[in-house]
Amino acid sequence: MSVGHVARLLEEAGIATVIVAVEAFRARLESMAVPRLLVTPHPMGRPLGPPGDHARHREVLRAALELLERGERSGTVVG
């Protein structure tokens, strides 16, 4: 919820946001109508993937940055 509030405040101030969160947070973030949400299939506390898996971290970040650039409200899941 905290990050959902921060996202809304930043968007109001003209700063585009994208949230990277695990599946467990999907319901609470979607209910807050955040503009861009990337849901990842990882356990809580490790939203970008397992420790040491640099390729995965980079893949998740690239997907998040694509959402930022898409220019529309969007939510997606990276497999």
């Binding site: 930043l10 990277v20 319901a27 209910s31 990882h42 809580m44 420790p51 690239r62």
Partner: protein
């Protein structure tokens, strides 16, 4: 065989004890939110899959099991509900944009401990024990330079299992990966520092006081976009 039922722990008490109880384990605090029969199924399937791991040493089904049940545990959890929200399109291509990173992971830089409640060198265990106090207090935002060496990062947060970020900060605070994406031109520039706070905090204070102050602090940095990571 005799059993003294008056002293045996109920299953309800057992499953709830993982959430800030006698068996606190932040990966499994969701058990408290599950009906007993669902929690029983969680344990039964976990043990069945663990048995398979004995033979093939493949932990993937165990990890998937935990992840799926964490999602189930929080599937019906909604706190704040809004029908709509503000939306700012990215003003220019990412390769020309200035990005910041803000996480609710509870990181800070060694020597700059926010010292919650005036406590010096609070441990993770103390933070877990004081989760109720954190949830009533306003959050502190810690600036973290993007070039901070991993051995200078500290983390403390009574709401989640910090072992993942301790093993590799990039799993939730991707300083180095974002630097790489800036160096290869994907991102135009990064702010001098990323930011982190303890997400287990007073929501109304965050919304009405701390959050607006953070926006005021970011505005002069001409930030176009923010990557936000909750844990």
């Amino acid at each position: 065989m005799t059993t003294d039922n008056s002293e045996s722990e109920s299953f309800e008490a057992f499953k709830n004890s993982f959430s800030y109880g006698s068996r606190t384990d932040l990966n499994f605090k969701f058990l408290k939110h599950l009906p007993a029969e669902d929690a029983a199924r969680f344990f039964q399937d976990l043990l069945w899959k663990l048995g398979k791991t004995l033979d093939d040493a493949d932990a993937t089904p165990l990890i998937d099991h935990v992840r799926e049940w964490q999602s189930r545990g929080y599937a019906h959890f909604t706190g704040f509900t809004y029908d709509d929200g503000p939306f700012t399109p990215l003003a220019r291509p990412l390769s020309q944009s200035r990005l910041t990173l803000l996480t609710s992971t509870g990181h800070f830089v060694a020597g700059h401990d926010p010292e919650p409640f005036g406590v010096k060198e609070m441990t993770q265990e103390e933070a877990i024990a004081r989760i109720g106090d954190f949830l009533k207090a306003a959050p502190d935002l810690s600036p973290i330079p993007f070039n901070t060496p991993p051995d200078q990062l500290r983390v403390r947060h009574g709401g989640y299992d910090i072992r993942g970020v301790q093993a590799d900060p990039a799993v939730a605070l991707p300083l180095a990966p974002l630097r790489e994406l800036q160096q290869d031109g994907t991102i135009g520039s990064l702010t001098d520092t990323a930011y982190s706070f303890v997400g287990a905090t007073a929501q109304t204070r965050l919304l009405t006081q701390s959050g607006p102050a953070w926006v005021d602090m970011l505005r002069p940095q001409e930030v176009d976009a923010a990557l936000l990571v909750p844990v």
